[in-house]
Symmetry: C2
Subunit: 426 residues, 2 copies
Amino acid sequence: MRTHPVQTTLLNCGISNEVLNTYKERVERFHFELENSDDMTGWIDYPLMDHEQLFREIESLKEEISGNADVFVVIGIGGSFLGARAVQEALTPYFGARENGTEVKYVGHHMSGAYLQQLLHYLDDKEIYINVVSKSGSTMETALAFRVLRQYMENRYGDDAAQRIIVTTDPEKSPLKRIAEKNGYRHFAVPPDIGGRYSVFTPVGLLPIAVAGINIRSFMEGARNAALELKESDLTLNHAYQYAVIRNKLYNEGYSVEVLASFEPALKQFHEWWKQLFGESEGKEGRGIFPTCLTFSTDLHAIGQFIQEGSPILFETLLHFQETEGDYIVPFDQRNEDGLNYLAGRSFNEINATSKQGTALAHAEGGVPVIQLEMKKLDEYHLGYLMYFFMKACAMSAKLIEVNPFDQPGVEAYKRKMLELLKNPK
Amino acid sequence: MRTHPVQTTLLNCGISNEVLNTYKERVERFHFELENSDDMTGWIDYPLMDHEQLFREIESLKEEISGNADVFVVIGIGGSFLGARAVQEALTPYFGARENGTEVKYVGHHMSGAYLQQLLHYLDDKEIYINVVSKSGSTMETALAFRVLRQYMENRYGDDAAQRIIVTTDPEKSPLKRIAEKNGYRHFAVPPDIGGRYSVFTPVGLLPIAVAGINIRSFMEGARNAALELKESDLTLNHAYQYAVIRNKLYNEGYSVEVLASFEPALKQFHEWWKQLFGESEGKEGRGIFPTCLTFSTDLHAIGQFIQEGSPILFETLLHFQETEGDYIVPFDQRNEDGLNYLAGRSFNEINATSKQGTALAHAEGGVPVIQLEMKKLDEYHLGYLMYFFMKACAMSAKLIEVNPFDQPGVEAYKRKMLELLKNPK
């Protein structure tokens, strides 16, 4: 088997050739259904298309923003910000922005009045650009925050505000598009056949990622290679489909919760993106694996007890990056009062990798099915590959439980109730 | 019924008097078992005891730190930092520290080399104090980070480092206690009969909370009132026990996952504390409700789809604070291009509360059992009350599924495996 950037190791939930054979035909059929469908499947070939002009436009805008803003405010919710934020936080230092990037802040992803008030206060002594992202152009949280931020920009910059407001929305149906045209805001199109949770490789994700100082060409190169390699219809050669099949087999055996656990806290927002992708794609018609995420070893000292010995409803997917930007060596200490000199000279990342091995062994012995996804490095290329890998696996997973991976009818329920209550206050 | 600070509203999972009667006797028995036990139940009466001397010691140290440090670094994992961080993040502005508080950073809660390296770089131009928190004094993550930070302090401050290092640990058995005495570090005791996840009201939580500029007396007043009111053995009068009973009833009906959802992003770390409390107390012997948390309305546009229409394995506990520090009024906009003028003049918090109502209705109609916990204000007093409320409810919950609420045997499994691998590297 070739060496894929995502190495899937099946610890104690390996699937036999017999099992693979029972899935082979169905996977192939669903593969061709996905490939030949034109219902919200624009994301499948998007990374294979020529985006040179878009890259240049984004890169030039990034330079303009670098020179004229301290903070780039992204206004969006759900698929309109989760992908961008996942990549930005995974590849930005823990303290402060990248040297070649602009600080990115988010708003419009909830309705906290305290947060909004404090954000505006924070922005008062900084130069800013804003990017409102909404495919429909009418999502309440985003629209309300945009109303506030837009007036704030006009108060601060007067006629120059238009230059600092960027709109990412549907090219045809969105009211935001009309607002942009009427007021002279620059705007990017969200391809109509790509849904929010599959949109990180479009301008929805690429503009904030680029502004943060991250190389979007490497990121897209990872996605492109994944799109090529995972076009394989043969289950025995397609790692993403194998992951989908293992999940399905475990689901059928009664495991109702998947824990995605990673070992680098920079991946917390990546977890949020992953939860939306799988939860919103699969959770319908009374079906689906409930997706939840943990950061180890932090959570081994918290919810770890439950995984090891609690209700046997979980399986675990361990996501590990062998290298990160930066590391630290355990120092020697003459006093050795803590008895840890035996670790002196080893790196924290090395010990972290051992903690991952220990976790896999302990949980597997405890009877928890453990899937391991091993990536070489936490960088643009591998994140791009991994995100596409999960998208492809997710679409196949949803097909295997016979739900539509691309709709979200249940999200409307709370919106309707909220609107009724807002329009008819007691 | 009296008005408790935690108002429990049972939407569609109310329990009838018949059900309450079937639990009444068991709850009373377990109540007296807890009250009369001396096995790790020190937390039950701790807020009722006189801590005046401890408060003064902590307040005086907080003044010293305010005057001499820009950053207070807490080194701890699991119960040694989750409670402090929950309160600190809930009651600190989203951007920057409190006016009367010192910035608090955390380390030793995972083994990311990148994070450690970047934290030290961040600290380089700031004055610092450090607080290492570990009951046993030998937890690997914490001990390794303390080794690094201690040398860092000695390099920066020479002999004065000892004045800037504070130890919180077991008063007798811990090797950290010996290190503190030998090197002249000030130290606080973790009461031996209080476990990590029940320790937020001890110096483990109180010192970092005070240093962040939060009023620990109001916080403890909330806990004290909860401890008094929830000493009630009668299930029909004890809201914490009612919450425990509803959970147990739902668990017995096959709901295996509890989603705690709140409407203020400042509560994200509070969620982490809550997950440890319930997960580690209940998840053993193949039993327990899997605890997970969401922030609404952010997650209504992500995992909300799953809750509304996915596998029917979840029940939901909505946690809502009516008031927060700060809010924002939706402005009128002459152009009304977004059509939202009908909301002008209303506050974001008001709309957020409506979103909560809409969510409860939508999810209940979708067949999800919804419990509502309503708090008056997100402040010291109510957080203190709420945390004690959850602790009491959790102990009773664990009793109801007949597991020990105060041990965590499964956490050792991964530690053992990791140590084996570290001591015998391939």
